[in-house]
Amino acid sequence: MKLFLKIWRQKDASTKGQMVDYTLDGVEGDMSFLEMLDILNEDLINKGEEPVEFDHDCREGICGTCSLQINGEPHGPDRLVTTCQLHMRKFNDGDTIVIEPFRAKAFPVIKDLIVDRSSFDRIQQAGGYISVNTSGNTVDANAIPIEKHAADSAMDSATCIGCGACVAACKNASAMLFTSAKVSQFAQLPQGRVEATDRVMNMVRQMDLEGFGNCTNTGACEVECPKGISLENIARMNREYLAASVKG
């Protein structure tokens, strides 16, 4: 199929960017979205132009590196997939596809479609861990039974890949779904309860410092999340936060 691409090109963080039009022929339905961009880049390189830079790594939907706002939606029109797993069969011959970087003040553009998501790392560093040293003689893994439901629910929260689609989709560029997924995972496990108060206070403080917007419960994040992280996590973080505020 033949596609008309409108792609954001930006030399570096300090240069102004703009949309550039490309026409690409010979795209097949079996290709992933990123393989389609590979072909475009091969063309550009052969023409002596600079290829379009985009973030990607595992190409199997788990590392969370690939981003891309495709036709106004993070990871494109398909649900529960990352851009690398989006296949071209979801598009039709003659389609125009608008490709932009994830937009948020807390995700500054590095080049073309690549953004800097280190704000997510800093949120995790503020408290997204359980303070346990490596010793080789922590208690036996089966010493504390955990109700299956709680363990499964913690796992559901833990599947977040940190891609930032929630921020990109949210009209407020809020990072609540991301932050709440980690808070929730630990809040539901006995090992995580010990530091629960400090954790939620510190992570939310960092989230606000990074300049993300406020949550207005539109639910866009949940719909666009490639891993199906639920809004329940945000409600749980709200509860945790309110309880922690009263305590602390």
Binding site: K6, W8, M19, Q69, N71, G72, E73, P77, V98, E100, R103, A104, K105, A106, F107, P108, V109, A169, K171, N172, A173, S174, M176, M201, V204, R205, M207, D208, G211, F212, G213, N214, C215, T216, N217, T218, G219, A220, V223, E224, L231, E232, I234, A235, R236, M237, N238, R239, E240, Y241, L242, S245, V246, G248
Partner: protein, 222 residues
């Protein structure tokens, strides 16, 4: 506690609580207004009570006004912060793909409701204040029904009210249900709560609109 004031989650909570407070107010306001349709006598009695009871006038009314102001001011602050959090805007943003129109346009539905409040205050509150404190007229426990009905004689006012109620409905459609999520309520009862909130969001504004249209269609003939 200071975190509670400064943080984004606290701001959400403030919106939720002030919103819920306004929902409660809306409910009682509707109940009283509805008596203007079914029992003008009762309406007069209750209106008079509300207008002259010191507790209502000097405690509840300022709280209500504060609630309205907090909800709106916080709404504007949040909107400003949220707008700036995007940084560069998207060339193409398909918001409709993942969120309802209501949830994405709270600021606009809210602004219309705010504008309506201006009109509504002008129509009733300013009139009351003038009656009581400027012109210092004598108490008249029977005047309220007639005055209210008379307000809806012009079609333009009735229409403005009805349109505003539609936007109020859209505002409540997202806002009421959403306030529970902000307070951390998301459990097995949530689907029921959501449903009730949505029914409320439709029924109450519909009721207000009915009252306005009813009075427009049934003027008092002297």
């Amino acid at each position: 506690m200071s975190g509670l004031i400064k943080s984004s989650i606290a701001r959400k909570l403030v919106m939720a609580l002030s919103g819920l407070f306004l929902v409660v107010f809306l409910t009682q306001h509707f109940v009283i207004n509805f008596t203007s349709v079914i029992a003008p006598e009762t309406f007069n009695q209750w209106s008079h009570f509300m207008g002259y009871n010191p507790l209502v006038q000097f405690v509840l009314q300022p709280i209500l006004i504060a609630g309205v102001v907090i909800h709106f001011v916080m709404g504007f602050i949040l909107e400003a912060q949220n707008k700036s959090a995007r940084g560069v805007s998207y060339v193409k943003y398909n918001g409709g793909a993942n969120a309802s129109w209501m949830s994405r346009n709270m600021i606009y539905t809210g602004l219309v409701v705010l504008a309506f409040l201006g009109l509504h205050f002008y129509d009733f509150w300013v009139h009351e204040m003038a009656y009581k404190y400027v012109e210092v007229k004598a108490e008249d426990p029977t005047r309220y029904h007639a005055e209210t009905v008379e307000k809806f004689a012009p079609i333009w006012r009735t229409l403005l009210y009805v349109v505003s109620f539609v936007l109020l409905s859209l505002h409540l459609w997202h806002g009421f249900a959403s306030s529970f999520q902000s307070m951390g309520v998301n459990n097995k009862y949530s689907p029921v709560i959501q449903k009730i909130a949505k029914i409320f969001a439709v029924v109450i504004p519909l009721g207000f609109a009915f009252i306005a249209i009813y009075h427009h269609l049934n003027p008092i003939t002297h």
